[in-house]
Symmetry: C2
DNA sequence: AACCACATGTAAGCAGTTACATGATTTT
DNA sequence: AAAATCATGTAACTGCTTACATGTGGTT
């Protein structure tokens, strides 16, 4: 799964600009895929050259022009090649987890700060996912609801466990260093 | 967090070869960090040149020689620079989740297969984590136990939710297409 | 006979990031 | 006056992957 595959997937739903695509990613695929403009724009240009997508320049007043891309037949074929390929194993780079593993090399205060920081982040993400789940504007198909539900379950578990860990830490852990 | 930082972290615990480091990663950091030999060996060579680590060649009989690396003072400083830098946001590339989102473009059979496949994978990973948690040979510090506990909680939630989803799918979902 | 574990390494390539450049409009 | 939103793009770089090369000894 690379940028191209995900871009084709969203263009299958509706024609969009690179700018739109990035915001679509951020809204609908948090914790699934990240892409910066530096990836999206060059990828779109390459895809257009290869005939996977076609550009339509939309003139706007007071705003820069938009390049609206729509998927071609060749693009649809490329998407189906992806969707029928074997699922790639997930890859995670979870710095917070690494910090935990290396926790013995920092102070208890530092560790607690990290825990609280991560909890804050997880909670924020969870709120986003839930609001998306309840939003009737995004007319999700059942599959998208499934993905959302799966994501929420995992996120919720992370929040709960972190809360427990922080609780224990504040009630027992800190004392060990304090005395 | 890049390869170098994690390598320094494990060398802080014990001197190791590149081969050992990879296996250490796989055992202790599943779902946190992945690195292939193609990353590890060149990184180790670069780090040696920069004076972060030092090599000791251990001759072995019947086996190839080993390059055992140990961390230097400069290496320890580099590790502390990492551990005191702000935590990087986690990055995930979760193909399975993407497939779910794009699920409407495939058959119900395909979707169910994906769900079962992912459940199998998650369960396998969970078993690994649990066996590590119970293994007294790896004398973990409290922080490592915390990391493990956090990882297990998330993994367990994924397994449970997927099982529910598959259950519902087999009892209701399939009928819609079958009749 | 084939394959896996042990052990290290190189070369080519790729996907993606960061930082920069441009520039109007709207909000704080 | 400053910052954010809208909108696209390039150039330099980096971190990593894939595939290959090499070779012994033990297992199936």
């Amino acid at each position: 799964m690379k940028g191209q595959d995900v871009i084709l997937g969203v263009l299958l739903e509706a024609p969009m600009s690179g700018y739109d695509i990035k915001h679509y990613f951020e809204k609908h695929f948090p914790d699934m895929f990240v892409a910066s403009f530096g990836t999206i724009y060059p990828t779109l240009n390459r895809m257009e050259k290869e005939g996977l997508i076609e550009k339509e320049i939309v003139l706007q007043e007071g705003k820069p022009n938009k390049n609206i891309y729509h998927i071609t037949e060749i693009g649809k074929e490329a998407f189906h090649a992806y969707i029928q390929s074997p699922i790639e194993p997930k890859t995670i780079k979870y710095d917070f987890m690494m910090r935990l593993v290396f926790g013995r090399y920092v102070s208890q205060q530092q560790l607690l700060e990290w825990l609280k920081q991560e909890l804050h982040q997880l909670k924020e993400d969870l709120v986003k996912l839930r609001s998306q789940d309840e939003d009737p504007c995004d007319c999700y198909c059942d599959c998208q609801k499934l993905a959302l539900r799966f994501g929420i379950a995992i996120q919720q578990a992370g929040v709960t466990e972190l809360e427990n860990i922080i609780d224990e830490f504040e009630n027992f852990g800190q004392k060990e260093t304090a005395f």
